[in-house]
Symmetry: C2
Subunit: 312 residues, 2 copies
């Protein structure tokens, strides 16, 4: 019989809930608007209520939750989540236990997304997969021999804090020149602003009504698709930088798939083409031939599906 799992993707503006089968197909889904300032008790009560109201709830055998932030996976505690109105030390597993089916598994959004990518983008066929979530920060999840790999203290996958340029600008993490410092959404936007100020771009300036602080990766994609040469160059540059780091990851880890997800990945081919070109130039051919690099076609669903599959 096809077993079913409940997945919760607990985000700062939306909570997605889905019942998923063991191959990652969504059987039923629902969503709750979330106000980042809500207290844990209220939010959790609502998650329970909405989950239990789902038609297929009685068939669910396990529950998984993905949360952006610092998660103690072993204890099922949200140590800290800035996205959720500064949740601190919230014993999520304990608060859900008994109300939702099975052992409750909690993990961070990047790990959960990697698991989702195995079943959505790779159709269950990838054994060793890296999922890179490109948003405000740059996160990563590692799948090893079909299972989530969390490392020795649960912090594996910090691809955003691999070095692009050891002499580069200071990063929030304390190091310098981390790849996140170049392609994280706010840094990419700020870099673009600087270039527009110097070189000028009619298209970008028009799209943001001359308010260069309003430049976002989405604006840069739009401008590039409208033919703006500066915006195109910014994406080539971002993709090549990410490609340098991914070539190192591929030489080290020899995965069969790298999935790019998250808001910044919506740039699609603008980002993917230079990534692939740089990996082809820099990684071992035996490793890069083996490795498919794709933009996730399921960015919005990776979290909720991956969360459900945590419980598998």
């Amino acid at each position: 019989m096809n077993k079913m799992y409940l997945g919760v993707d607990l985000g700062g503006t939306e909570i997605k809930i889905a019942i998923v089968d063991q191959t990652g197909s969504i059987i039923e889904e629902t969503g709750i608007a979330n106000n980042g300032a809500s207290v844990p008790k209220t939010v959790i009560a609502e998650i329970i209520r909405r989950s239990r109201a789902m038609r297929n709830f009685s068939q669910v055998v396990g529950t998984g939750v993905g949360v952006a932030g610092d998660i103690d996976q072993k204890k099922g505690i949200v140590r800290f989540s800035p996205n959720l109105g500064n949740w601190k030390k919230v014993p999520l597993r304990k608060m859900l236990a008994g109300h939702l089916p099975g052992d409750i598994v909690v993990d961070n959004d990047a790990n959960v997304a990697a698991l989702g990518a195995v079943w959505l983008d790779a159709q269950g066929k990838a054994r060793n997969l890296i999922c890179v979530t490109l948003g405000t920060g740059v996160g990563g999840g590692i799948v090893c021999q079909g299972k989530l790999y969390r490392g020795s203290s649960g912090t594996a996958g910090e691809i955003g804090h691999m070095s692009f340029d050891h002499d580069g600008p200071k990063c929030n993490c304390g190091s310098s020149g981390c790849i996140e410092r170049y392609i994280g959404a706010p840094y990419l936007s700020r870099f673009a602003k600087g270039l527009v100020e110097v070189e000028g771009s009619k298209i970008i300036s028009k799209l943001v009504n001359n308010n260069l602080d309003a430049i976002t990766p989405a604006i840069l994609s739009q401008a590039a698709l409208m033919g703006d040469p500066l915006a195109k160059r910014i994406w080539v540059d971002a993709g090549e930088k990410l490609g340098v780091v991914l070539a190192s990851v591929i030489n080290f880890y020899n995965p069969d798939m790298v999935v790019l997800a998250g808001g910044v990945s919506k740039a699609g081919k603008l980002l993917l083409d230079p990534v692939k070109r740089m990996v082809k130039i820099r990684a071992f051919s035996t490793s890069s031939r083996e490795c498919k690099i794709v933009i996730s076609r399921y960015t919005q669903k990776l979290g909720v599906v991956g969360a459900a599959l945590l419980a598998k």
Copy 2:
């Protein structure tokens, strides 16, 4: 009962053979001088003869062989080994089968060393371990949840070809600025030669009788231990460069141990101290606190013990 395994470390100048128990203790060992130009058939016949003559041979239940070079682990074939007088497409497993006990497992020297490090340096306690072999080239082996991780096409662990400086000098692999290009023995030696030519070093010059082409990592260690400031600086620089790359590895993989082995690691603290300092500055504190970084105390034995444990 304590099971025993036969390990063969097949090197260009020496072949080490040992019978090892399941915790990596050497029960009995022997060695054969090897002439890099020997034909496979002769070398293999001698390995078989010497192994079968060992006192504990009758108790051996499995055999593993480590070979420097490009190995098809699945088929047990040495695709190419420049160290062994250009061995090409040698079906090592097939040639040993029936003559040595159990299924014959063949793997490359870096993978085998990682397995050896788990049992020798980590005393069987490391779950996720990286072994970096620092010699002419810079290799790496990855242990994941206690088992060797080979990646999707058997080429995982190429730490030597992770980027230190994407704009750096051309590397043999086709990329540029790979860490091997800085700290591989010939590059390190050449870099030192250039510095001695410009800045001068009485100690180094004396150690090599003014023949700066004779500078090796061993000479640089000796000079540093004799107080030569330039040699000391060269080791600090080498260690910091390696530390930059290892910080990325630690942020990505979150291992509980990194073991440095191979000839260049004989520099000991000269190399290890700047590596550790750089990792502490650059890696996430949660990951770097978890990760012991050591110089292997068993460089000469990692290969033969790891080879035996391949068969476990």
